[in-house]
Symmetry: C2
Subunit: 429 residues, 2 copies
């Protein structure tokens, strides 16, 4: 290495984890544009929740370092090249996916303040403000916490141990890729930004998938990596939309309608492969039963909780009931996937529907078994909208272990959405 | 990377494999000094022999490239720093291991010409000249052929495949190291120069052993790596001494005596841990039976062919017969070792004798199963003294599959050394 490079490297006060506002999931930007148009003035609070209590984040991560990373993110704004890419690139086959008014707003955006407090061995990290602004904190906040936790563990390891660690991680990932490449026609995208081991590692994982699967690797949810590596940016929408719409409902009737209002707004904006239903926010079964007919015309469904095979069977039955041919429909699996499950689900449903996978944490952060005491194993960290205009949000999902919100509100939602008995399943990551 | 580094890297006409005259095994230099004193004018021919006929070296390796590498080696001479190290360093606890007259000669040495010819799919590569000069070709010639074969395979692999390849190789080696580190008191040295995957890889393997085994990693046979990494240089003597001494014998009586003449010369020069018997050149059993009593006083025995446990038992019985306590004696295993065998042998003999290991090819070149078609698997390449002053050399060893020399000479040697039935064993590497 030359001296200048070395000196330059040592000049950094911190080693920033998130260095770009588009180091985020593509669906965040799609949703942000939708929110910017439809509900720009909603006041929303996002909150970081570590579901894995035995990972004592506040003991592992120095508060000062965490603040430096978050402050660095607040200093970021869209670069000219990033803006050009968002404005000029084709996403899902469509030019000018992002409207001029949204882009102008985004070009002038800096992320709003955060609130950080240590409570016991965990951090309380919340973001409160106008929905389109605070929602953009979710992914970078998660990525920062995940990577700082990783760094805390890596800090104690020697140069050689680190070499071996990454050699093992590479070997492990490549073994997965080699298994997946044996399944012709399989289609997988990277959904692993939020709980990645680190940015560089996610970038390597994307390269591995591209190298191993070629065109069967359909792209990455990470906009920065998609831009840098000239890949498709992948993603549609998430639970945050129905959760906030639902929280804003003034009565039970509006509440029951809220998830469909979300998709009605989406229907106006998007077509084709962007018309993907995420049906599980308040129970897949009931959502589909009460869905308006125009929703059956949408391209596909994303299955993000509950038993995935069951979810797919429910979807197939629903399409048939509504006179649609499931073979034209897309089922995207995105919950707790690893290569075995991917291959099983593919074999089970390929041909009956079009199958696709959004592979997350076990693509970009499978360090299980690689560090002493398994201290690099991924853990279940989420960052969710917890209130909207003063009302708490609720998520039920198809797995009661993933439910969130105040107990009385959960009960109300269960009643309104007619959610019966649900099977509890361990949350993998 | 900075521009200057990149430009510099592209300026090399070749990427030299051997860049130093001390990128060789330590025992070569010890033997060279002994030969330089005792038999300097012997005319010896060394010849490269590929025992693995299905590795078509001449199809894999371009003759021009091979010549460039060999020519580069001929351009090398001892650097000032290397000379200082050899003169000033302590080897086996001894200062000034290398005498001034030898060092002066070595400082002025350039390696003699080589003879290279393609015969079918193999190369005939021979070195003829004064013994102390030509003997120094053995290790670099082997290393060049091994690494050029590796490069031929690597040339067809992409950047990513290469990353995964080395990640896997590192993972594989580290798994071995982790198994070995669980055995307290085990003592292992690197003997893997000659059939290493590459210089850089050997250097990494040495670091891995050091990192994993700490002081239980006793050193490396490679002088350059020992110098660069401040490790012990390890090694004593090899078959080439008795083979050449035997070839120079004028009659059967002298022949029978030749292996002991070698050790008598060695006895004069060295003591302590350098007094290691290599008994298998013409059969261990007979060699020990007829050995003079002073040889039983030597420190240990290196077991380099045949069944290693049997060899060690033979040695133990011999020491006991000669009134020596085997627990004071050193047994060095150095043939076809991998971690399982190392651990087995250690458990079997630790406490009964002092046990040590010289781990070669499967330390520095275990790329088995790592490349398509297993084209990086190590293969059995040797470079041996084949004649001395016009007489063919013979090696029998304790494994008839390792025997070499003209058939009638093999028969004569078997008769003179009273070698009975031997068990044939596959040569691992």
């Amino acid at each position: 290495m030359d001296i200048a490079t070395r000196v330059w490297n040592h000049k950094w006060k911190i080693d920033p984890i998130v260095r770009s506002l588009i180091d985020t999931d593509f669906y965040k930007l799609l949703m942000c544009q939708s929110v910017f148009r439809n509900r720009p003035d909603t006041n929303v609070t996002f909150s970081l929740i570590n579901r894995t209590k035995d990972v004592p984040l506040a003991r592992l991560i120095d508060e000062g370092e965490l603040r430096e990373q978050l402050d660095h993110i607040r200093s970021l704004s869209l670069t000219r090249g990033e803006s050009t890419w968002l404005r000029g690139n084709t996403f899902y086959g469509k030019r000018q996916m992002f409207r001029s008014d949204f882009m102008e707003w985004f070009e002038n955006l800096k992320l709003p303040p955060y609130h950080l407090e240590r409570v016991g061995d965990q951090y309380e990290l919340t973001f409160e403000g106008r929905w389109p602004e605070v929602m953009l904190w979710e992914i970078p906040a998660l990525a920062v916490l995940m990577e700082l936790r990783g760094r805390a563990v890596l800090h104690d390891m020697g140069r050689f141990e680190l070499q071996v660690l990454y050699a093992r991680a590479m070997t492990k990932l490549w073994q997965k890729v080699e298994r997946l490449r044996e399944v012709p026609g399989i289609r997988i995208a990277d959904f692993g930004t939020r709980r990645r081991h680190s940015f560089l590692w996610q970038d390597w994982c994307v390269q591995a998938m591209l190298e191993g699967l070629g065109p069967n690797f359909t792209g990455t949810s990470n906009c920065l990596i998609a831009k840098n590596r000239d890949l498709e940016a992948i993603g549609t929408n998430a639970h945050e939309l129905p959760m906030v719409y639902a929280a804003l409902a003034k009565n039970d009737a509006e509440l029951a309608q809220a998830p469909y209002d979300v998709l009605a707004d989406w229907h106006e904006e998007h077509d084709g492969n962007l018309r993907i239903i995420l049906p599980d926010t308040y129970g897949t079964e009931g959502f589909l039963k009460r869905a308006p007919d125009w929703l059956a015309g949408w391209t596909g469904i994303r299955i993000d909780s509950g038993d995935p095979a069951t979810g797919a069977e429910v979807a197939i039955r629903w399409w048939k009931d509504r006179g649609e041919d499931p073979r034209d429909k897309l089922v995207i699996f995105s919950d707790g996937l690893d290569e075995d499950r991917i291959i099983d689900l593919y074999r089970q449903f390929n041909g009956r529907v079009r199958v696709s996978f959004g592979w997350g944490t076990l693509l970009t952060n499978d360090f299980r078994g690689l560090a002493p005491g398994d201290r690099l194993a991924p853990f279940s960290l989420v960052c969710k909208a917890v209130s909207a205009d003063g009302n708490p949000t609720v998520k039920l999902s198809d797995n009661p272990k993933k439910a969130m919100g105040p107990a009385e509100e959960i009960a109300r939602y269960k009643r309104v959405f007619d959610v019966g008995r649900q099977e509890a399943m361990d949350v993998v990551v």
